[in-house]
Amino acid sequence: MTGKAVRTALRPGRVLVALLAFAWATPLLWMLVAAFRPERAASAGMASLIPDYVPTLGNFAEAWDSADFALYYLNTIIICAGILAVQLVTISLAGYAFARLKFPGRTLFFYLFLIQLMLAPIVLLVPNLRTVAQLGLYDTLPGVMAPYFASAFGTFFMRQSFRTIPRELEDAALTDGARWWELIVHVYLPLTKPSMIAFAIVSVTAHWNEFLWPLMVINSPDRRPLTVGLAMFTLGAEGAQAWGVTAAGTLLVVAPLLIGFLLFQRRFVNSFMTSGLK
């Protein structure tokens, strides 16, 4: 077995893929190495991937000072949490309706929801910006969140999970006199917790990473989310020293998701698998 494993490991294809993995890791490795490099060591070769220095947090301090990362974090967290909170309500209600209720026009509504799945919201950014402005939400965080409050992907996702729950449970609860919302809260949601978590990971990752829409909606610097803040910061950075600070800023932006992934790998991977069409 060991002999076979060694032989398989030495197959040229595997070596090539291992080399590619190194190439794949390079940009993130560079980010780590450059972010902790002291300013003095920078001139020698900013591109070096070898951490031949005593690590310092100077770049982080400078990034933190020159851009309002604390505020950007807060804004991004508010946006992600706000979207997710409303989505969880809308998708569990609609998901339950599609999964277990019969009502007039059910098929029609099903296709109406499908339209959102087909037309990516970001493509509608120009008319949506006008709507957001008309609603008085221009340059506000709710303006960034609003187009995502309904999620066809989430609705269909919850519908699928609700359907895996035996109807007998619902019937039993009904004969016990449970009301519809008690059914959802006490029977359906607790049993579909893994699905909700999967959806939450997809939703938070998507909106944590979103750029173009908040760029258009937000005008005030103190309402920028992390991505917009980082973009302005990167584009404003100049000179050789600035690259260490840019790397530090980038690390600040990507760290939470990367740490989340390293802690909950399986959950992340499974969620991303289900998110093919979102």
Partner: protein, 308 residues
């Protein structure tokens, strides 16, 4: 909670309450309504708006008459044609390499060893980071002379290039970023697809004396067809809807050589204040999206209706 559920499951069933169920079913519409309100405001209404606006000339030209002027305007706009052409090159040049690499990664790393798990994570990490953050890193990688790429190319004795400043190269540099960012995502789907291939299929092929290439060609790939189709569609959707990196790296330049459709729309709306052109270009994109998604709609419907 589990106890409660068991209790409830055990408690009922014999009393039938049909009228109550029927009443409850009227709830359906009420439960859909929160979603429908948001869908109406942010999906149906804006779609109707761009359709309407795209066939009405901007007021400053001739009093808002009905016509195809906006479409003529974008077709006559070299920047739009360039963006459309770029988007095609960008689609082919990112999706094909990403798919091939993703398949190679999946085939190589399919067995769950510790080493393979680490490599899979390495390929997957770029998927997690924002496109803007990836662009910030690649801005340095592509920096002429002192950037990561030129620095190591110089060590190999290879002359670097002006990766983002040369109109003949810039789009291909950006494709490099996109392949880096997406291959790991597609790999996930191939890994899952490979799990669905029954081991017997390989055993039969082995008994028939099939070479590893033949096994790939006649066993693996046919089984992966649905996965391939699915990944192709999400890849195409991605190249249309993701342009954040353009904003950081090139802003569509030099001379529109890296302009993509969605970035063109952004330019028309925000920088050129031309809502008519923006609307017409948006309609073109919506049409592309509809065409793409309806290709996969049958599959999607089948999935959604599964167990109906």
């Amino acid at each position: 909670m589990a106890e409660l559920v068991v209790h409830m499951a055990g408690a009922g069933g014999d009393r039938v309450r049909v009228p109550r169920r029927r009443l409850r079913n009227l709830l359906g519409l009420a439960l859909l309504s929160p979603s429908l309100v948001f869908l109406a405001v942010f999906t149906y209404w804006p779609t109707a708006q761009v359709l309407w606006q795209s066939v009405h000339a901007a007021p400053r030209r001739d009093g808002g008459s009905f016509g195809l002027q906006n479409y003529q305007a974008i077709v006559g706009d070299a920047a739009f044609r360039r963006a459309l052409g770029n988007n095609l090159i960008y689609a082919a040049g990112t999706i094909v390499p990403s798919l091939v690499l993703a398949l190679a990664f999946a085939l190589t790393l399919v067995r769950s060893t510790r080493f393979n798990a680490v490599l899979r994570s390495v390929f997957f990490l770029p998927v997690l980071i924002p496109l803007v953050a990836a662009a910030s890193l690649f801005l340095f990688i592509f920096l002429p002379g002192v950037g990561l790429l030129d620095y190591y190319l110089a060590k190999l004795g290879v002359q670097g290039a002006n990766w983002l400043g040369d109109p003949d190269i810039a789009l291909y540099s950006i494709m490099g970023l996109t392949v880096w960012k997406n291959a790991g995502y597609y790999m996930l789907f191939f890994l899952a697809g490979l799990q669905t291939i029954p081991p017997e299929a390989y055993e039969v092929a082995l008994l028939d004396g099939a070479s590893s290439w033949q096994r790939l060609r006649f066993v693996t790939l046919p089984y992966l067809r649905p996965t391939l189709a699915f990944v192709l569609v999400i890849g195409l959707l991605g190249v249309i809807t993701q342009v954040d990196h353009i904003f950081i790296l090139t802003k569509g330049g030099p001379s529109d050589s890296t302009n993509l459709l969605l970035f063109y729309i952004y330019q028309q709306a925000v920088e050129r204040y031309d809502p008519g052109k923006a609307a017409a270009a948006t309609v073109v994109m919506l049409a592309l999206l509809l065409a793409l998604t309806s290709l996969s709609l049958r599959r999607l419907e089948r999935n959604l209706e599964a167990g109906e």
